[in-house]
């Protein structure tokens, strides 16, 4: 049996006196899509940032395909090549053209020749309908286009695992669909993904498994049909009721 794409054992993380993650265990199989749901401040974003080693964890261990990435002397840059992350606020590099945003990683980290990196980047941009934006600066693009570029930038590193941190939360409502469609396409293509999201309908459609985070713990997890239709935990029910009241499910 092959090792899971991602295994997390007992992660604790605190910012000062605030315990943001309080013992998270999670296993993600290859090609699996996991939706992380929960209120703001429940630890979804922090969990993703810890997996990408952008935040050092206080306790626990993280394995990617069986290899521990939280041990001493691990080359974090090498790990990050295999784990892509897309942020809520896009974080494109505003001084670079779209094409240069996408090829920066492949050129500087993977040391690929410029022409190769650009050819691959153009193929990716084309696939997501962004080819004609290749030579523009990010601020000429709509929010939805910027976020799609950010996804392409992460994909250009050919990661084994993609982390999406509320990628539609900063978008105008009419731009959400174009980004979600990209994520759907990635899921259909077998990309292993961990998705923190407030889009419950989307989570229900796309995820193989939904994890409800509450106060830094995974309180409940299961197939979307079960979590959304008959949640076991009162907290989960409460959370989902509030979402339904807000007309978001």
């Amino acid at each position: 049996m092959t090792a899971p794409a991602l295994r997390i054992e007992g992660i604790w993380k605190s910012f000062g006196a605030l315990d943001v993650l309080q013992g998270i265990d999670l296993e993600v199989a290859e090609h699996e899509v996991i939706a992380l749901i929960g209120a703001s401040g429940s630890g979804k974003s922090t969990l993703l940032r810890c997996i990408n080693l952008l935040e050092p964890i206080d306790e626990g261990r993280i394995f990617i395909e069986g290899e521990e990435i939280t041990g001493k002397g691990v080359n974090v840059d090498r790990i990050r090549r295999r784990v892509g992350i897309v942020f809520q606020s896009f974080n494109l590099f505003p001084h670079m053209r779209v094409l240069d945003n996408v090829t920066l990683g492949p050129r500087k980290v993977l040391r690929r020749p410029k022409a190769d990196a650009e050819a691959d980047a153009m193929r990716l941009l084309e696939r997501f309908g962004l080819a004609e934006k290749a030579n523009q600066l990010p601020d000429r693009l709509s929010g939805g286009q910027q976020q799609r570029v950010a996804i392409v930038r992460a994909l250009a590193m050919e990661p084994d695992l993609l982390l999406l941190d509320e990628v539609t939360s900063a978008l105008d409502p009419e731009l959400v669909a174009e980004v979600l469609n990209v994520v759907r396409e990635l899921a259909a293509g077998g990309m292993t993904m961990l998705i923190a999201t407030h889009e419950m309908g989307f989570a229900r459609d796309i995820a193989n498994r939904v994890c409800f985070l509450d106060a830094g713990r995974i309180l409940e997890q299961g197939p979307p049909a079960q979590i959304f239709a008959e949640p076991r935990e009162p907290r989960t029910r409460q959370f989902l009721n509030r979402i339904i009241e807000a007309g978001r499910l």
Binding site: N52, L54, D77, R78, R80, R81, V83, G84, I85, F87, S89, N91, L92, F93, P94, H95, L104, G105, K108, V109, L110, R153, A154, M157
Partner: protein
């Protein structure tokens, strides 16, 4: 549709809903602009008129006029002074390049966060503190007379070299702080995005942070270089025959201060265009960062212009 107040809706849209009020406002604006121009003109003429009047009618004016405003000495000294100014230009150009490099290294050192680099950070901090604290003239004196005074074999004696060295040391301290402010102004999410792609800290700095930071600090950098242009005269103290030293030589030969006036004029001629260029760059940056309309409002930022009133 404008009632929704989308991003493109001007703030003042709601005020001019009455037909014709927009045209009337435009006329009012034009009228008040004309009025402000007139007021500015009259007050300028008045202020400068009074200053000139007081100076020219002062008891010592004839003596001052003779020793500062001698036409013949002015024209005869100008060629020598202009020639000596080339030394200042050389000094400025060489020091500027060295300063840009040294200051960037200092700023990067001070902006580092890793524990291993603490000694580097400490040294850079001490350097910046020392060279901002000690008056520039003293640094020039100490280096220009002290080091050659050691009489070490093979050590250069050309004061020009020590002048470049001293100005570079002094100004690097200031300029590194400008760079550092620029680096600090780049949001950490940019570094996070670069690191998440697998770039090392150094690569993130080189490809993502510095290009943005440097672009942002060009106007304040130019401002420091205007200061450097002027401070090149300080090296006259260690025997570099540059514009100020040259004018002193002419002054003592004629017992007349007019050459200093010529020097002042030369600096006005080179510095003012640089200052205007800096202003223009700042304005352009404001325009880029806030979007089209606001920069014009800044430009026409008089209280009478209406746009100023909104702000």
């Amino acid at each position: 549709m404008t009632a929704l107040g989308g991003p493109g809706t001007p703030d003042r849209g709601g005020l001019s809903s009455l037909p014709g009020s927009r045209a009337r406002r435009r006329n009012d604006d034009r009228g008040s602009a004309l009025r402000s121009t007139l007021v500015a003109l009259v007050s300028t003429v008045l202020v400068f008129g009074v200053i000139v009047y007081v100076a020219v009618n002062s008891p010592g004016w004839p003596a001052v006029q003779a020793s500062f405003f001698d036409k013949d000495i002015f024209w005869s000294s100008l060629p020598d002074i202009a020639l000596a100014f080339l030394v200042n230009v050389q000094l400025f150009l060489i020091a500027e390049v060295l300063i840009l490099v040294l200051a960037l290294l200092l700023a990067v050192a001070r902006s580092s966060t890793s524990a291993v680099l603490f000694p580097v950070r400490l040294m850079a901090t001490i350097y910046v503190d020392v060279f901002r604290a000690v008056p520039g003239v003293l640094v020039i004196y100490i280096l220009g007379f002290g080091i050659p005074g050691l009489n070490l074999p093979g050590i250069p004696t050309d004061p020009f070299l020590y002048a470049v060295f001293a100005l570079t040391l002094i100004y690097s301290a200031y300029v590194s702080e400008v760079y550092r402010a620029g680096i600090a102004s780049i949001h950490p999410s940019q570094t996070a995005a670069a690191r998440s792609l697998g770039l090392s800290q150094a690569q993130a700095l080189r490809h993502v942070v510095l290009p943005q930071a440097i672009r942002r600090v060009v106007p304040p950098l130019l401002n420091d270089f205007i200061g450097l242009q002027k401070d090149t005269v300080l090296v006259s103290y260690i025997g570099v025959i540059e514009i100020f030293r040259q004018s002193q030589i002419i002054e003592s030969a004629n017992f007349n201060f007019t050459p200093y006036l010529a020097v002042a004029l030369v600096f006005l001629v080179v510095t003012i265009p640089m200052a205007r260029f800096t202003d223009w760059l700042i304005l352009r940056q404001v325009r880029q960062e806030r979007g089209g309309g606001t920069a014009l409002a800044t430009l026409a930022g008089t209280p009478a212009s209406g746009a100023g009133a909104v702000r």
